[in-house]
Amino acid sequence: MIELSNVSKTYGSGESAVHALKDVNLRVPKGTIHGVIGLSGAGKSTLIRCVNLLERPTQGSVTVDGQEMTRLSGSALNQARHRIGMIFQHFNLLTTRNVYDNVALPLELMGEKRSVIKERVLPLLEMVGLADKAQQYPAQLSGGQKQRVAIARALASKPNVLLCDEATSALDPQTTGSILELLRDINQQLGITILLITHEMEVVKSICYRVSLISNGALVEDAEVGDFFTAPVTQLGREFLNDFLQLTPPKELLERLEAAPGPATHPVVRLTFSGDAVSTPLISRLARDCNVDVSILQAKVESIQDRTLGLMIAELLGSEAQTREAMDYLQSHQLQVEVLGHVQRTS
């Protein structure tokens, strides 16, 4: 449905050139929700704006709904944009138009008749739960309500694709939840393909099927959401995940942590387990079979879509040979073991 092939975007030229996007390839199949996550300045905004050509790629091609956007300009481009809805972080509603007229705007731009507009706008307001606010002005609405109006507006021209530019970043967690629910309903009931950019793992976790990680203008990871949350491939992916799970070792431990093992140290490990491993009593087996005691410093279990993900930071107490054996044992049971460092034996 959406296809970016070798898309690059460069601002300026020569020495001062800024490469906002570097050779980006992305395929979003029809009817799915795809998330692009990255830190600010990574190129997310440029990426999503290249889809409807608010930013024209310097190189590469963008195809939406079988139409090569990058070949279009002028009125053909405007026509194609009618088929692509977009919502924004700051809603971008016209302050001088009431809710009804805001939703009517794209239809007015298409030259639709008043009667057609009315038939289209009212059910949309119904759908986003704001039928009673039709005559109010954006200033009278809460952030969540404004985004609902923006969603209704984006759907007015019956698009096949919806682009979400940090659509929930300006909202509180509860409102974020209800907006994400609305987006999922839209995806499921209307079959609209959604491409969203965000810096919040929560958004990806809640509604995305697939996720791409963007860093310095390049897509560095592309995975099913379940895979990304259980086994991110890149360092950045792991950082996002750890931030999201808030599973970083306690400060007091970090201070004692040494990079290299010493004569009298214990390894501190981060264990990530998913699937069957979550329900297996591995820790007690570790004690029994490898003769290693496990001191759990932090632990957490998250369910991501249909998967369960467990995370733990633990100190392995035993001789070097024993702890190595224990780590091998864990790895053989599909756990990811990451050695964070080593601490001196306290006893």
Partner: protein
Amino acid sequence: MSSALVNLILQATLDTLYMVAISGVISTLVGLPLGVLLYATRPRQILAQPVLNQVLSIITNVGRSIPFIILMVAIIPFTRMLVGTSIGINAASVPLTIAAIPFVARLIEGALNEVSPGLVESAQSMGATPWQIICKVLVPEARGGIITGLTITLVTLVSYSAMAGAVGGGGLGDLGIRYGYNRFNPTIMLITVVILVVMVQVFQSVGDYLVRKSDRK
């Protein structure tokens, strides 16, 4: 006060209003599109035309930097060509209009500048043409600022029109100079000033009211 004098004051007031109205309307009709052009042809704007933008900007700056009293005298041949005379209220309206056009244009440009670029971007994402963006987004969203700008213009025109008295333009300024100043009649001077103050007050109040009414923020 003699009835002749009252008539004189009444006539001068009407003359001032006439000059302000004529130059206000025409300068708005020309200045509004010029202001929109100044804004829309900027680099990376919806009608980006950097060269045209530079040219318009320079013309506007030149127009704004010429002192009104000099402009008035300098364009006398043009005024004569246009209205057939260089004295009287019709003649005074010509330099007033010429001076007000770049003034209006810059104020309109400033008002448009206050519109969030996000609104333009979202209109573009809906497939709006530049013309639609101007008519349905930029100008309506900037209307508070536009009304403020036009109010400032009218008030400025009132004081400029008083200067027109210096070249036999008529109006309250002319009356104040000829009767109040040259003939040492403090009463007439005071009355003309009071009328001018009231006029400015009324324009400002009406403008403020319209801005408030249009504001939905």
